[in-house]
Subunit: 218 residues, 2 copies
Amino acid sequence: MSEADPSTPKERRLAPPTISRLSEYLIILEELGESGREVVSSRDLAALYGNNASQVRQDLCCLGHTGRVGQGYRVRELERMIRATLGIDTIKKMVLVGCGRLGTTLAVHVPMAHYGMELVGAFDVSPQMIGTRLGPVRVQSAQNIRDFCAKHGVELAVLTVPKTAAQDVSDALVAGGVRGILNYTRVRLRVPAGVAVKNRQIVCSFLQLFHATTSQPA
Amino acid sequence: MSEADPSTPKERRLAPPTISRLSEYLIILEELGESGREVVSSRDLAALYGNNASQVRQDLCCLGHTGRVGQGYRVRELERMIRATLGIDTIKKMVLVGCGRLGTTLAVHVPMAHYGMELVGAFDVSPQMIGTRLGPVRVQSAQNIRDFCAKHGVELAVLTVPKTAAQDVSDALVAGGVRGILNYTRVRLRVPAGVAVKNRQIVCSFLQLFHATTSQPA
């Protein structure tokens, strides 16, 4: 963990909904930047995100960026400020536990390295998986989790194991020093204070879509 | 689309954050129900979700469920009410466009049928994929999207195509009558009014985790 001055943007704690929106603004800004766009207004960004300009301006104020009246925001500058606020201009080591279909897809699909995350280890219990290559790493036995994380200073973990294994794996990760777990299982993990768990149920996105089309005015 | 009385819970429009929480409560309640739990308090549910009891009570009020003072909620009853509110006690047809790694993982990983979604079609442009079996369906050429959706009354689609193809595929889906798109591409789709798009960037979950561990007090 960084010991930097808590008054720097990186160390300020923002509310999860703000962080969620900043993350999405970043993806939008990257797309805009790649297409050659240099400046974006709060109104354009709001239209692309799907909220309103005053919300965008309020969120960007959290970065200490007040924009320039009538001139909009510089795309690349805003991108850099969001990256700094999220903290992803530093690198954190990450492991994947559970190398089934979902785990391997996440490892391959998500450009972790671009966002400050280095996949340094992957674990499974299946003899068929152990020893196989997954992106930059080789899959190891789940028995190694605690020692490996402690030895390599791993801070983050992605959990895609069967639910019966989830709490034990979580305990091993925490014992190895992991401070943040992205939990794709249905289990509500018990972790000590100071460890962050983000529960992600992919099906929830499907449910939200379903409801959006049910209550849409005809 | 249902033409039911707009005053029924199913047709009431709830804010996306409420829907998001209700979806998660449903997953938690299903887990509790499977483990034999019959009653849950707003405080227990809040602890499992990670918010507070008054937020839970307020959300459940949206279902028209006021609970019974000091007695908690019946797990199965609450489950049924959330399902009705989300609309998933009806069935909607869904297609998947883009049968690469992410698309096939979603098709296999998400128990759509349990949540009111029937996967009736899958599309890709790759000759290697076309004709192969994906869960209950065979992958078809993306050229068939519009006609297939119109013929079968498809309402929902999941989009996991390369970004260069995203807008064209979205146009074909909408022309075929699709009313809701779960968009896993980085493209901000242009769709007519009355069509819902939910943008899902898996990487955003990773960014939220990253920030949670950065700003965690030491």
